[in-house]
Amino acid sequence: MENKIIENTVLKFEHVSVSYVPGKNAVDDINADVKEHAITAIMGPSGCGKSTLLRAINRMHELYKGITVSGHILLKGEDIMEMNPMQVRCKAGMVFQRPNPFPTMSVYDNVLAGYKLNGIKLKKSQKDEIVESCLRDVGLWKEVKESLNKKGTFLSGGQQQRLCIARAIALKPEILLMDEPTSALDPIATNKIEQLALELKKIFSIIIVTHNIAQAARISDMSMFMYLGELIEYEKTKIMFTNPKDKRTEDYLNGQFG
């Protein structure tokens, strides 16, 4: 599939390092520009720091003691470290490994959860509109329009994950962070999420962390390969998969380790 990459930068990493233990960087001095309206895949073996890097973007590390993030991350030119973390998280939506709709909320309320939790009041008509358009965007509208008042947890795993994506995009974020969003799903559900990501990149910019090399090859425009906390290679996916520059990237893509 030929993807036209619009060469605008949405997110910029400048010397980003993250450490869980003082003196030892789990993510070490990352510099990269993430393109707008593209899917950027972060690949690498377990423990290479790909999720850690992703979670630095929406400042999730601040929830835990002892994790330090240094360097700058610019979202549309604005340093996220100088923004209010709650504001950052509205602009950078996140989808997690396991589908996790709020168990007490209906499908309808799950989509609007971001508004509800932030205390943003909406008119009924606005709510209906957001719910319908977000559920349409994630291809869930036809499946759930009859059961909007049922609990989100009654849906299948794949549907739940799409609901979580709807919940994340309802706030109209600049960028969508996906942390191995299909690793808990079956191949059919995985395929739907991948197709969805390809649709959503028209509206949002997507960074997806994945264990699955084939998935990165299928859907991403740009690929990062991380190893032991370092960004080894960052290239257009097509180029990286056909002509990797670094020996480690080549070995990883060939399945020599990982």
Binding site: F102, P103, T104
Partner: protein
């Protein structure tokens, strides 16, 4: 049969036997209470108070059941348990949420340790404390004093059950709520607490059923009253307290069994409801 299969069979029988043994006390208690208490239970039992000792004696002499009932105990228990719960539920919930959210601070370790200690304080001591703190200054035995004693008793139970319930919530629930840009406060109030509703409610019901049967904390505080009393500043009765008072009056001993049966059923219902709620509202 090989030795292994025989050993397996023997082990199975032993395990079943001992599991069965634990059921026997409860079954025996209920059987005994029903056998001795059921004939006292009628409409009057719930709506009237116990007769004086002479009337009770005369009724029994003429082969009738003791007239009257335990309305004063039922209302008193209701008042005191509700007041105790109104105090203990908010305090306990907040403390429990704090302990589960910030388990590593020195303060929360201290609170946690003291909660355990409080749980171990004999209930009669809580009664004496409430006597010194409430009855003495107020100059009267009262439902307030009784409910303070029950409140102190409920508190550690609710703190612990809240803490355990909140700790059992999947951690990604909190992360996903925060990832939507919401404040910590609204995550707790709108996501975590509602999600743990089943566990919290169960904990509260169990705490209520635990203090409902308590006599010792009420002896120095609520004291007892032979009339139905809605005034929270006046001496008030409670069902377990009544049982103790019936025991001290040879002509009213017959009321013990019916009262015991009633409170036993009440507590069983609370416990069964609690386990139902826990199952129904279980979060995956």
């Amino acid at each position: 049969m090989s030795r292994r299969i025989i050993k397996d069979k023997v082990a199975k029988i032993v395990v079943c036997l001992f599991s069965g043994l634990t059921v026997i006390p409860l079954a025996a208690i209920i059987w005994e209470l029903v056998k001795k208490g059921y004939h006292q239970i009628n409409w009057d039992f719930f709506t009237k108070v116990a007769p004086n000792t002479l009337d009770a004696m005369l009724a029994q002499r003429s082969g009738q059941i003791i007239p009257g009932g335990i309305a004063n105990g039922i209302t008193g228990t209701l008042i005191m348990v509700v007041m105790a719960a109104l105090l203990a539920v908010p305090c306990g919930l907040f403390a429990g949420v704090y302990l589960s959210e910030k388990p590593h601070t020195g303060f929360s370790k201290a609170v946690s340790f003291l909660t355990d200690l409080l749980q171990g304080v004999p209930s009669i001591i809580l009664g004496i404390i409430a006597y010194a703190w409430v009855v003495k200054p107020m100059g009267s035995y009262s439902a307030i004093a009784g409910s303070i004693a029950l409140f102190i008793m409920m508190l550690p139970l609710i703190v612990r059950s809240t803490e355990e319930t909140m700790k059992m919530l999947p951690s990604n629930l909190k992360e996903s709520a925060l990832a939507l840009g919401s404040s910590y406060r609204s995550v707790i109030l709108k996501v975590l607490l509602p999600s743990s509703f089943g566990g919290l409610f169960t904990g509260i019901l169990l705490a209520i059923s635990r203090v409902m049967g308590e006599t010792a904390p009420l002896m120095f505080t609520a004291l007892g009253s032979m009339q139905v009393n809605w005034d929270v500043t006046a001496p008030t009765n409670a069902i377990p307290l009544l049982i103790w008072q019936f025991y001290n009056d040879p002509n009213l001993v017959g009321m013990i069994w019916a009262s015991s049966l009633f409170i036993m059923i009440l507590i069983l219902i609370l416990n069964i409801t609690a386990s139902r709620v826990a199952r129904k509202w279980k979060i995956r």
